[in-house]
Amino acid sequence: MPIVTTLKADFYSSVQNMIHENEVYGVKRKTPSFAFDKLCATQELCLDYDITVLPPNQYLLPPTDPLITFNLSPEVSIRSKVESRATIILGIHAYDLHAIKLLDAVFTGNLVDVNYQARRSATAIIGVDCLNPWLYSFAASMGTALPPSIFDLWLTDLGGEYLIEVGSSRGQDLSKRYLKTKSARKVQIRQRDKFRQDSLNRYQLSLDRSAQEIPEILDKAWKNPLWEELGEKCFSCGSCTMVCPTCVCFDVRDKITLNLKRGERYRLGDSCMFDAFDKVASGENFRPTGTDRLRHRLYRKGKYMLERWGELGCVGCGRCVHACLVDIASPVYAYNRLVKEATQWPSA
């Protein structure tokens, strides 16, 4: 696939055209942070950002997502409901794209979740390299600071222009339709690689071991007192999961009209950190304490998802590190502590 360049000024006017003809979700300022939101004007777009409050998953797995609709009267009937619209996500960072790769594995693997799939295939992804990483991010050490090859277009800010890597035929079409490009020169590609390399060195948080070792570390850590130490402080507020790009758990509920004639079944985001997540009707709660839940979450991120879906469940974005008000949610902190203490505590 080709690599091209475009002048920044040209790029921004192309974005204006893109907005005219498409539903474009881009990164905007949300003081003191940034957020994905529907773009109305090109001036709103901020491509030089460190982190967004929420990952762009909301466009693939909306907070509430109807699954079926039904009629109860005059006759019972059920229909599946899939809402999707052609969408462009503009400005995604590499770690968030890695997360989408994981979602793809979860929702379009052996069993296909049509609600996800319909939206996913209607969504074009234009990403951008994160050259000035966020204080809390540790994507470099998770190996997620550079994009997996599932993007349509990928931008790198070279100063006066963007270097654009075309990743798919949809990207090709977008580029043809909207962008004024020249092919990239070798020196520009070298420049990109250098910028990327520099950015990797700019991450302030990092794992003390390679990400591949996390499952092994966790294998020996089930009874580590760290879980208790952290878990005691947990609010069970689910903030860490709400901001996480790889959290996919959901609850399912029914809604019915006041005249009891029609209704809808929808899913909505749930969290394994909530007190009642594992509670069954008999009253049994299989993960009754904050400690149990915190440990489960960090095992899921560091081990279970990898074993089941082939990707680590943490992409190192750092959102949970910052979101947790009692500073206990950080995977990098927990994994590093476990590495340090691995020799001091008996394994389970």
Partner: protein, 282 residues
């Protein structure tokens, strides 16, 4: 541009089923006989479950109680505990429910062929086991001994009393029954005490026997210990687990135990597998 697709392939789309018969089993339990509106069979394996919807209330995972060896209808034994089950209990013949599934692995039926089957049921646990019991009865010649150990809290809580009478009369099934306590006015011929008190009377060939255990979580630890004492292999003790469950397909995350999903990898587990899971203390 909004595209609203109606995809019939959605895994969340239940099939409509009609209630053809409702039978009380005990104070809080009823047996529902259902048939899919499209006339198709569910073709389940004993031990599998379905997601039953009462539209407008919600969905609940319920084990198949009937054997696939019979006609195209199927049966679910349901205890009232909350919203969906309460709504189910309000249903009358002719009413409609939604059914998704069957889900889960079920019992390893072909592997069980030729073996002695020790069914250990606690309370509502008889519902899922009944599916396998009836399967074994219908294909009686394919299996060795069939032993049913059934424990309840009180005689009045026994489910499938009519069938128990039938089974007791058969020569080819052995039945051991217990109740935790027995009111003075109740007629009761079985033992009094928790289900494990039945084990001393049990004589089995430990090499030929597979135990199929379903009951409340606290029962498992004690029953497994007894089975092990009898010399049944860790891989020949099968347990069906209950967890909170929403989708039934490994997406929603609720039923996860360490890295296994009860809905996909279970609900039937070998005890041996469970010993490797740190979150189940069976």
């Amino acid at each position: 541009m909004a595209i609203s697709m109606k995809l019939e392939s959605s895994l969340y789309l239940p099939k409509l089923a009609e209630v053809i018969k409702v039978e009380p089993l005990a104070e809080k339990e009823k047996l529902f006989r259902l048939r899919l509106r499209d006339g198709n069979r569910l073709d389940h394996t004993p031990g599998q479950f379905v997601e039953v919807s009462v539209l407008g209330i919600g969905e609940a995972p319920i084990s198949m109680s009937s054997s696939p060896t019979r006609d195209e209808s199927f049966e679910l034994g349901i205890r009232v505990v909350g919203n969906v089950t309460r709504a189910l209990h309000r249903l009358q013949p002719g009413d409609t429910v939604g059914i998704r599934g069957p889900f889960g692995n079920g019992f390893p039926v072909s592997e069980l062929e030729g073996r002695d089957l020790l069914f250990v049921a606690g309370g509502i646990g008889l519902c899922p086991l009944r599916s396998m019991i009836r399967y074994a009865i219908d294909k009686r010649e394919q299996f060795g001994r069939i032993i049913l150990m059934y424990g309840c809290r009180e005689p009045a809580e026994q489910l499938f009393r009519g069938e128990l009478v039938e089974w007791r009369q058969r020569q080819d099934i052995e039945i051991l029954e217990s109740v935790d306590r027995c009111p003075l006015d109740a007629a009761w011929e079985g033992s009094v005490g928790v289900i494990t008190t039945l084990f001393p009377q049990l004589n089995i060939d430990r090499h030929r026997t597979t135990a199929l255990v379903v009951g409340p979580p606290i029962m498992y630890r004690y029953v497994v210990a007894e089975c092990l004492k009898k010399g049944i292999g860790k891989d020949q003790i099968l347990l069906s687990l209950e967890r909170r469950m929403k989708c039934g397909m490994g997406f929603c995350g609720h039923c996860q135990i360490n890295n296994v999903y009860v809905c996909l990898d279970g609900p039937v587990f070998r005890y041996e597998e469970l010993t490797k899971l740190k979150e189940t203390e069976v």
